[in-house]
Symmetry: C2
Subunit: 764 residues, 2 copies
């Protein structure tokens, strides 16, 4: 509904505004509560059809009032309250009635009926007094004046186009039904997470990425923002959410055709159909191409026979395995005795009562390091038959004659196209990891600004631990890296959402690289944050326990990081080869050699010993250095491979011998990518107040990343010791300078206390 | 009992040998089982007093048969079995009776009585068939012939003087009563760990470090070996064991006097008196000197009043807080209104029924990241009065006149002497961390030797993942580091055990440095090991979950690593200053400058570009490089400090400004220390077969440590890029070479399958 409608609110509609505002602001609208509101509104006899319609709409979780409407409500309420003594009204009923009466309604019956309905609703929904409501009003308006910039403005830059959905979800997650208590027994924890997933589904979050025609919004940006926001709260929830909507739903969306979409997407989005994504096997994880599960088509019955030929061929670590009633099973498709490669087939695994279907064996994967709220399990199939139609057939179909057909002729290409469905998952995993890192950094930095230890002498207070240089060195470069990762990921998602067909490999390379980068970073930041909080960081209540245990697996699932980095390097080599295809691979090597030689080595004499502050903080210097590293490694790798191929070494052996080199190249590529995106983000920042603090943070990121690789730069004679020493001093100084902005910088992550939940990070 | 007694075993005694052998070998003798054996032996009428005595002695956990006796038993049994068909005897009863009958006893009554007793005992003790017994026999004899060296021989080098106690404890820990099941609910887990601690105490392990006069063996080496062995099994158990015997017991032993030893050490060693070590407060962790708890002496009642003046002054993270009946409370001792600094006082906290005593408040610290089998809690004291005698008064006493007296005049020195009691704790924490790292490396390397993924083409088997260079890079340098840490720690313990008074600071510096080094290493090795095992590493059953969560806190407790490194640097600066005291601090700086200048810089022109294999693997080169780094950093730090002092900057500010430099120096010191000890260990190795594999491992350690710091060496112009590149290639090659020894190298850690327990690491 548009803001322009504000003048036409009738007294009846107006009287509901405070109640609806508080309900929404608290994220209180669980399905049963929505039912209560709808029943009450429907039973109000004196409402006009229009009034009833607008009130019902405002109560629908899928049609939540937008930010502008929400703000308009607040203004109306503020106006109304201006007439009154602040303290005289302490309920949404009284305020609503006051607002209605300001409209000078004569109909006392109507007013009486409204009052009764509001009172009943207020008590049925357990709406608290206005004290809480007042606090919410303040929160929206608040601008902290003590900092050089407003964390709220920076938060808008970070949240960008997703601000509204993020804010709304945060409110929901601070609702009492989302509470952080240790659920140590996996069965209990899993049921809680399942319940949460269902609430989210009913509020429309699950289907966000699905097409509009199937109940979604077709908005992968919002979906990814939701995933990150969930990860601030509980990673088990984020992962189970991702399995249900992103992996299972995503496999139907991306690998299926219209009939699958029509049949399965709506119930998947509403979580009425729970599904799992059965790709990994005990025997084959990283090497998906060699999966052993068989899907043999029998044309006489027009069915596909799903079978696990060995124990090792069982599907493993499958999320949702203990709750789902259907699985997307990845298997070698056999048609007329010929293997067509890995395809996905929808296989029902439980009946309506939740009983496992015949021929299927499911085992619990048991306790895990973390994510014990996710029901991972193993699945085996003993000649389970499903109709031909269950093949997700976008990239490979069996027609009614029993003939296999595919729009992609090459089996290899077909396989990689299908695996392309994993890209969105990788992006989300990276977003989730980033969310976890932000929580860890927020907690440890806020603690560092409260905790004092040691002091100059007995008469002075002890010093804040964040004022110790060693402590700043632990946390500030990592805070800078969190920002860098944020901008790089946001860019990746936008590129992903708008990609053209020919960009798919580039996107895949970016996603693989950033997934590795961010998930390793998250583990590192969580660990450093934990140690920076000492013993307090070890207590469950302060979040690090779950963050660390849960985020750990991010380095492995959706593609093992080390394997992904090799994928990145292969992508770079291929791109590079194709780019210069006219001249062939060797021509491109020669070109690169000349480039490295000309544009870099000749500049070095000037650069090598340059240590003035302007130079060290110059983005052009950073970009030069980061690009040099990437290109030099690419060139050297190309040359080494060329020599080996000349010696007739097999491609597999070449790969083995250059493996560590490939990984080094991939890391250099991601560093450069992230640097560029941080630079872009600052160029695009409209708010002048933000440019300076962001630039400082950027420079800290650039130089501390350089520092991590300074051995390589020194080895290559790109810089001399005098320069790396100057960079170390710059990093030390930047740590001190950014420490002054530490609080607004973590506040801009916008993690409400209710989600942060760690007692050591919350000011009383 | 000596081996020389072997010829005088009577038939009755001989008949018990198989049963006792198997009982001991299985570590089966829980207290209730010992009771059963003793009762049965005592009830045997036909035994002579001598026979009864020797059999009772052999059944006493505190007097276990030594290695020689044990071997002699095995020989006797082998002799006896040589008469027989291997398969014909499948019980300890039959074998025992056969051995007795070989002695040609005519007394059929005796034989009948023996048979009855043995049968009863065998069933009461649930002694299994001889299949298991035969396996044990083989285990002792086995020498693997497929490797160039025997893991058993290397294990002897590692276990050294503690081999016997380690082997015995390992057998106990593979007993069914020590079983690894996930105990998710802290109360259940804590009770299990408490039960384990009591079993260990009754077998004499807890008191090992106490003086012989108080039921111990006065053997800190064995105690530390026990701690490491326990950590292979369960870190909660190791930590609770350490709190009870090392910290609580240790505070009585080291800070108390004879009356305390007489009264409290025996029940502490037997775990009849459970105690806790109440040092850390919520407000003060690292800064122990400023603890707030007050211990005010009142001479009229001759009591000490223990009081927590604020909520923040409460003791926190105190292990054993939920089970203990006594606490060693560290508090500011006030005598006649004067503060005498931090002292420890024994305070009863629970009565005989386990009820918390008046004036004491205890709260559970709740769930933690790990170590949930340890009951950490918070304690507050509200004017709790204890007798004057409860002051642990070795370093500070209140005499019967109410006058405070101390053998150490300076309060500062007194404080540091008392804190010296923490040194043993730090050594044990490092041992525990090393144990955890060994488990992680053993599991991940064994998995790397089983798991295959990807391969050259369809017709060849997939490749073992440990054959990938990137995988070797992850695990082999860490395996080398585990060996390095092992030798360095063993040396530290020996130095600690034999230390003279004037060596105490050196020992403290070593302990602080190695504690930081090894605990950080353990966290790193566990993480890398987990990732190297992919999804399998994430499952609880494969051990990484608990290893990671439990060992994490080792970086913080018993001294935060970053704080400890600063202690190391201070120690180095002080030693250095004292060493050259005649000339004063400045003279020593000048001396060091000349040393660095003369002996290093002048050599560099030769060294900088030297890349031949002999040179790179030369221990003299490594030692030179490691010493150079330490001395150069020490010199530079000294110079910087000198300049600042000249500018009249306060000592506290000098400390703040040089904090990161101090940490760098401390790390260089530990690297050098560890390198030297690895070199020493190889020089001392008697077994020629071991020298080569150990030397390779050593070189990998030396060069990969150099590599980690190569940025510094390049920055200092100690080497050129051509040399660091050659070192990288050497490390790659050494990774491949040591990979060939990977299996015997982890087997030499001697972790039995029953303790390792991870299904992915156990060959079926």
């Amino acid at each position: 509904m548009a803001v322009s409608s504000k003048n036409i609110y009738t007294p009846s509609v107006v009287s509901f505004i405070p109640l609806l505002y508080v309900s929404w602001a608290d994220g209180l609208l669980s399905p049963s509560e929505v039912k209560i509101i709808k029943r009450r509104i429907s039973s109000l006899e004196n409402l006009t059809p229009d009034e009833r319609e607008i009130l019902l709409k405002w109560s629908d979780p899928k049609e939540w009032p937008d930010e502008a409407t929400f703000k308009h409500w607040m203004e109306l309420m503020k106006d109304a309250r201006a007439d009154l003594d602040d303290e005289s009204i302490d309920s949404v009923v009284e305020l609503g009635m006051h607002m209605a009466s300001r409209a000078q309604v004569g109909d006392q019956d109507l007013l009486q009926q409204l009052r009764e309905s509001l009172s009943l609703l207020s008590s049925e929904l357990h709406i608290p007094g206005l004290a809480k409501f007042r606090a919410l009003g303040v929160r929206v308006e608040e601008v902290r004046s003590k900092w050089s910039f407003s964390p709220g403005s920076l938060q808008k830059v970070l949240d960008a186009e997703n601000q509204e959905v993020i804010e709304r979800l945060k409110l929901l997650l601070t609702d009492p039904s989302f509470q952080q208590v240790p659920l140590r027994i996996k069965e209990e924890y899993r049921l809680q997470v399942l319940e949460w997933v269902k609430i989210l589904a009913r509020q429309g979050y699950g289907a966000l990425g699905f097409p509009k025609a199937h109940g979604g919004k077709g908005d992968i940006l919002q979906y990814a923002a939701v995933f990150e926001t969930l990860s601030l709260f509980d990673l088990s929830l984020a992962v189970k959410f991702g399995v249900q909507f992103g992996l299972f739903g995503g496999s139907i969306q991306n690998l299926g055709s219209k009939k699958h979409h029509d049949l399965y997407l709506p119930p998947t989005g509403s979580a009425d159909l729970l599904g799992c994504f059965a790709m990994t096997e005990t025997g084959h994880g990283s090497n998906v191409r060699d999966l052993e599960t068989l899907a043999t088509y029998d044309h006489t019955t027009q069915t596909i026979d799903i079978h696990s030929p060995t124990e090792q061929a069982g599907k493993e670590y499958i999320g949702n395995a203990l709750h789902a009633s259907m699985a997307s099973v990845f298997a070698q498709l056999m048609v007329n005795g010929e293997c067509k490669g890995v395809h996905a087939i929808l296989v029902p695994i439980r009946d309506a009562e939740g009983k496992v279907l015949p021929g299927i064996r499911i085992e619990d994967n048991g306790y895990k390091m973390g994510l014990n709220g996710v029901d991972n399990g193993k699945l085996w199939f003993d000649h389970v038959k499903v109709p031909r139609e269950n093949l997700l057939n976008r990239f490979g179909n069996i027609d009614s004659e029993g003939i296999y057909e595919s729009p992609i002729a090459s089996p290899g290409k077909r396989f990689f196209t299908m695996l392309g469905t994993l890209v969105a998952g990788r992006i989300c995993v990276a977003k989730g990891a980033l969310g976890a890192a932000k929580v860890a950094l927020t907690i440890s930095i806020k603690y560092g600004l409260k905790r004092r230890q040691f002091g100059p002498d007995d008469n002075q207070p002890e010093r804040l631990i964040l004022d110790y240089p060693s402590h700043q060195r632990r946390l500030m470069p990592r805070l800078a890296k969190a920002y860098a990762a944020h901008f790089a990921l946001n860019n990746l998602i936008r590129v992903y959402a708008g990609q053209k067909k020919e960009e798919s490999r580039m996107v895949e390379t970016m996603a693989a690289g950033l997934k590795s980068y961010v998930t390793w970073f998250a583990n590192d930041a969580i660990q450093e944050g934990r140690e920076a909080c000492g013993g307090k960081g070890y207590l469950w209540e302060n979040r690090f326990a779950d963050l660390k245990a849960d985020a750990d697996i991010f380095a492995t699932f959706e593609g093992d990081n080390t394997v992904l980095l090799q994928l990145v390097a292969k992508g770079l080599l291929t791109d590079f080869k194709e780019e210069f295809n006219a001249g062939g691979f060797m021509a491109s090597i020669r070109y690169l050699a000349s480039q490295v030689g000309d544009s870099f080595t000749s500049i070095n004499p000037i650069y090598k010993r340059k240590t003035d502050a302007d130079h060290l903080s110059d983005p052009a210097f950073h970009l030069h250095a980061f690009r040099f590293r990437e290109r030099k490694l690419l060139y050297a790798l190309g040359s080494r491979m060329r020599t080996m191929f000349k010696k007739r070494i097999t491609p597999y052996d070449v790969f083995i011998r250059t493996q560590n080199h490939m990984i080094a190249l991939a890391k250099a590529y991601v560093d450069r990518l992230v640097l560029e995106q941080f630079q872009e983000a600052i160029s695009g920042t409209m708010d002048d107040d933000l440019v300076e603090p962001l630039s400082k943070l950027y420079t800290l990121f650039a130089l501390s990343t350089f520092e991590v690789n300074k051995d390589w730069y020194l080895e290559q004679d790109y810089v001399e010791g005098v320069k790396t020493k100057a960079i170390r001093r710059s990093v030390d100084r930047l740590c001190m300078e950014t420490r002054l902005d530490a609080e607004p910088l973590v506040d801009a992550f916008g993690i409400p206390d209710g989600i942060l939940s760690a007692p050591i990070a919350i000011r009383k």
